[in-house]
């Protein structure tokens, strides 16, 4: 196994090098996606399938799509990447110093069980069986609530970037896909499948790897594909119904959290109700995340037919 680990780590570093310093922006982004997949593999190897799923779906997948889309838009805008071949030695020195300190720190830390035993002990009271989900949605629910709001904030942050201040116009650039092209066929087939996979991921998250963010990502991917295939028109960046969908998840999360005060504390889910409450939050959160991510990937309105 040690050989495998070493090989994987070498590949990860090489892919990262190509992504950060390799020639050509498009190639760099492709290498970044490869890098993300390799990292996901590493997570599997580390016995963290939840993280592996998140990294593959969000870290590599969605971020990759986002970056690829940006490469296209930048080249359309005629904004080519400047060539830099020289190495910036002071920065390299500083970065190397940080790396050396980290390597030293990593090597001098003794491994320990951390909080794993403590989490295992109280897991029955959390209403879920997957310890990672328990931490995310129960023990550190406040983090997760804020995190869902961070995602929302990033999307709202795209509103002011709309061309000409038309922040309510249709999201993203204008897409011209042929209605019966390959993409369109794929696009017709995908949504029902994606819906199934997405819902399953959320449902399964309580027992197995998965959860709202992973599920939402799959749904969002399907939605984006439909738009890119020309099957549906891009929705308004801030159409009323979509805005409700955006806030439904965090809103319900917050509302149930405040309702928890009736049981003795903020975000307190009594053991008997915990499973139901967490599942309800996850379901609605998945919807919000899916819409948020889809609009995010489509990007701020660039003048394609206002609604």
């Amino acid at each position: 196994m040690a050989v495998f680990d070493l090989a994987l780590c070498t590949l990860i570093l090489l892919a990262a090098l190509a992504a950060v310093a390799g020639p050509g922006l498009f190639r760099a982004v492709v290498f970044f996606v490869v890098y993300g997949v390799l990292i996901a593999l590493a997570w599997v190897r580390l016995g963290a399938p939840d993280v592996a799923l998140a990294e593959a779906a969000i870290g590599a997948g969605l971020t990759g799509v986002l970056l690829l889309g940006a490469v296209g838009r930048l080249s359309r805008a005629g904004a080519d990447e400047p060539l830099t071949s020289r190495i910036d030695w002071p920065v390299a020195l500083a970065a190397g110093l940080v790396g050396a300190m980290l390597v030293w720190a990593v090597l001098s830390l003794a491994p320990g069980p951390g909080l794993a035993p403590a989490v295992a002990e109280i897991l029955p009271q959390t209403g879920v069986e997957n310890p990672v989900t328990a931490v995310l949605l129960n023990l550190r629910a406040w983090d997760t609530l804020l995190e869902s709001v961070v995602l929302l904030a990033a999307l709202i942050g795209l509103w002011p970037l709309a061309r000409g201040g038309a922040w309510q116009a249709a999201a993203g650039p204008v897409h011209h896909a042929l209605p019966d092209g390959v993409l369109a066929g794929f696009g017709r087939l995908l949504p029902p499948v994606a819906l199934l996979v997405g819902v399953y991921l959320v449902w399964a998250g309580a027992y197995q790897p998965g959860g709202a963010f992973q599920g939402g990502t799959v749904l969002a991917a399907a939605g984006v594909l439909c738009v890119m295939a020309g099957l549906v028109r891009a929705p308004g960046m801030a159409a009323p119904l979509w805005r409700l969908a955006l806030v439904a998840g965090p809103g319900l999360f917050l509302a149930l959290g405040v309702a928890g005060m009736a049981f003795g504390g903020f975000l307190l889910f009594p053991t008997a109700l915990a499973k139901g409450m967490i599942l309800a939050i996850e379901m609605v959160l998945t919807l919000s995340i899916a819409v948020t991510l889809a609009l995010m990937v489509l990007g701020p309105p660039e003048g394609g037919g206002a609604q």
Partner: protein, 96 residues
């Protein structure tokens, strides 16, 4: 599993270099993501103990991944809008 933690540390260094030294803005976004996943990898690998990874770092890493995506999305949006306005993807250095 120390090798993964060390890899994470090296990724941080590599990514930091790109984040600060690269001039192309999109490249910096890529580098930022490399730093992020390097930190996460370090975190996870340090939490590995007897065949399992501590669930707390796992949960925090998932949160971190989502946060990194959010930041990347805003960054990409800004880079594209900036390119539309300025026609380039570099920041002109202001006079100090």
């Amino acid at each position: 599993m120390t090798v993964y933690a060390v890899t994470g540390a090296l990724l941080v260094a590599l990514g930091l270099y790109g984040l600060i030294a690269a001039r192309g803005l999109l490249r910096r976004v890529v580098a930022f993501n490399v730093v992020g996943s390097g930190v996460f990898l370090m975190f996870g690998a340090l939490g590995w103990y007897e065949g399992h990874t501590d669930p707390v770092p796992q949960a925090l890493i998932i949160t971190g991944i989502v946060v990194a995506l959010s930041a990347s999305a805003l960054a990409v949006g800004l880079v594209v809008a900036h390119a539309r306005v300025s026609g380039g993807q570099v920041l002109e250095d202001d006079a100090p």
